[in-house]
Amino acid sequence: MSSSAEILSQAFTLGYTYTRSTGPIVGQFLTSLRARKMVGIKASDGKVLMPPVEFDPVSAAALSEFVDVADCGVVKTWCWVKQPRKAHPSDKPFAWAMILLDGADTPMLHWIDAGDEAAMSTGMRVKVRWAEETKGLMSDINGFVPEAAALLGELKPAASDEQITGMEAPIYLTYNFTAGKATARYLQSMKKGKLVGQRCPNCRNVYIPPRGSCAACGVPTEEEVTLGNKATVESFTIVYIPIPGNPIKPPYVIANLVLDGANLSFLHLLSECKNEDVRIGMRVEALWKPEEEWGYAMENIQYFKPIDEPDVPVDQIGKLIDEGR
């Protein structure tokens, strides 16, 4: 996490590690691709669609008749990428193109390794450059090249000839997440060892962590309220399942805690007591990590631990007045 003036931001990567079912049509196309063959599908009007689709784009009829098409054809339109992005299939300048393969009636999208924009033209002939190893993915085509180009790479036979029914389609997207103004103020206070929430100007409820608004009243919240370390258990659960990457050993307690003076709970760990002794209404207190470990995070508090105070009746949880202020 980096901090500049009021802005807190952190880079992170979102991963969607999907495996997709292909169905029989896409599956057949990918199976053929792995065998280094191109197939299209016959549309209702007899035209050959490339790549194949399950249903006719005009008549909506289910399609099933595969047609062999060539692995070479004509560029119908193209664009030139001077500065490839990290995710792109080529790390040197390349063309995206709609390519009409011989025997097909609709062009398909792929990329062309032409070396230079000057080598590209609408109407030029290109051919598939097959990947050395094929897996049943669009990347089995390692781009197209101008038809006259010599291809020298060794082509290994496909590892399998089983019908493809699914494909790995992992997606990783990188973001630089920025905390909102209210969240940033809150995290900056956390870094100083203080719990600071916000009060709604309308209903007077106090929220921590604050979001910059009162969700109940729909008005911005500005007034800051410093809260103490004491809280009440509003609800809890005992976790028995180990969570990958989580250093805490189960079973452990996660509780909804309402800080004294606040009106909405947040989640944190509860420790230094027997799990079976945890109960709703129990009084607890934050145990902060050593100051040198404080960052812009809720984890500055290692966990909450019980204190010797009488339980709070259920109907009064979240309605306590912070007497310490």
Binding site: R20, M50, V53, K82, T106, G180
Partner: protein, 352 residues
């Protein structure tokens, strides 16, 4: 179909990076503004609320739910969301009013694209088997679409630059615009290509922001005693995801939607067209049959600022506000989604 009134509209500035503003902080100011224009206090005072946004843009799961914190949804309100531009949220609310399920509705759209690499994020809206795994982005598709038109002689690079020059020039009068200036088409043509044949200025900028609107029945608008613009027709159509089957030099879906709402049934004073790439404005103008007596994108359009998921609703709001201010009597607004104008929504707006 019953007439529906637009009584309020507000939009934020288009900013390249809204920095430390979360979704609530982006939405709240435009909500406050439309409540003020309508003379109501909160979302509790309308029958239905619908928003448009896409969590992939900022990479925050359920950001659209977090956005509800801006509404004051206690006691619970009737609320819905479209993972689309908020122009389609308007369409959903318009249907509710048509069915008699609501008399009034609040709509808002927001987008924070700055945290991610937007063209790459958008590549993942494409076919997940054939296109998304190649990470082909929408700029590339738009560039190939432009070349189709350049190759056929239908347009020239100068035509495209004229669109940009006029947009940036019009944007000089738009306080919310992100890109504005008085460059001529000749100046713009001196710039190098970006994703050839597109130059960078042919592409809309990436913007963060939000917009909001309040619509209602004519009776409700009269009861509120506020000036309003009337939605005379709204229709949306989509084309196949099999991009090779499409004629990229036309927008068939816009043609059908425009016909369905009767764009040609009267003079069109102003048209706000959601054309994220310069050549697409030319396609849309033709698809809607707009003549030279129609002023196109007086706001500067999305080439001057493009808040994805809000810009479509803003096109409608821009036309509505010109009608409410009495500057025009009839206008057309258009919203789009998907590669190469795949899905299009057309609205005809008139004065009372």
């Amino acid at each position: 179909m019953r007439d529906v009134a637009i009584v309020a509209f507000a939009q934020s500035n288009c900013q390249r990076d809204a920095g430390a503003q979360n979704e609530v902080e982006l939405i709240m100011p435009v909500l406050t503004e439309v409540f003020k224009q309508t003379g109501i206090k909160s979302a509790q005072d309308v029958d239905f609320t619908c928003s448009g946004s896409c969590d992939y843009q900022q990479g925050a799961a359920f950001a659209f739910v977090a956005g509800v914190d801006a509404l004051g949804a206690v006691p619970p309100i009737k609320e819905s969301h479209v993972e689309m531009d908020a122009a389609w949220a308007l369409y959903e609310a318009w249907l509710k009013i048509q069915m008699g399920h609501a008399e009034s509705a609040l709509l808002y759209g927001f987008g924070k694209s700055s945290p991610g690499e937007l063209p790459i994020v958008l590549s993942q809206q494409l076919d997940p088997y054939y296109l998304a795994p190649l990470w082909v982005d929408t700029i590339a598709f738009a560039a190939m679409q432009a070349r189709t038109m350049l190759d056929s002689g239908e347009i020239t690079e100068a035509d495209m630059a004229e669109v940009v020059a006029r947009s940036r020039n019009n944007a000089l009068a738009n306080p919310h615009a992100q890109l504005k200036g008085d460059q001529t088409a000749a100046d713009l043509l001196k710039e190098a290509t970006y994703v050839s044949p597109l130059r960078l200025h042919d592409c809309c900028p990436i913007s963060d922001g939000a917009c909001a609107m309040i619509i209602c029945t004519i009776e409700k608008a009269e009861e509120w005693g506020k000036p309003y613009a009337i939605i005379k027709g709204i229709d949306h159509r989509i084309e196949t995801h099999h991009i090779g089957s499409r004629d990229l030099s036309r927008s068939v879906s816009t043609e059908i939607a425009g016909e369905a709402v009767g764009v040609k049934n009267g003079k069109v004073d102003v048209a706000e067209l959601y054309a994220p790439f310069s050549h697409q404005e030319i396609i849309l103008k033709k698809a809607l049959g707009l003549g030279d007596d129609t002023v196109i994108n007086p706001s500067g359009g999305v080439l001057a600022g493009n808040v994805m998921m809000a810009s479509g609703l803003s096109r409608i709001g821009e036309v509505a506000m010109r009608i409410i201010r009495g500057e025009i009597t009839r206008g057309v607004a258009h919203a789009t989604s998907g590669p190469c104008l795949q899905q299009n929504l057309v609205t005809v707006l008139e004065a009372k």
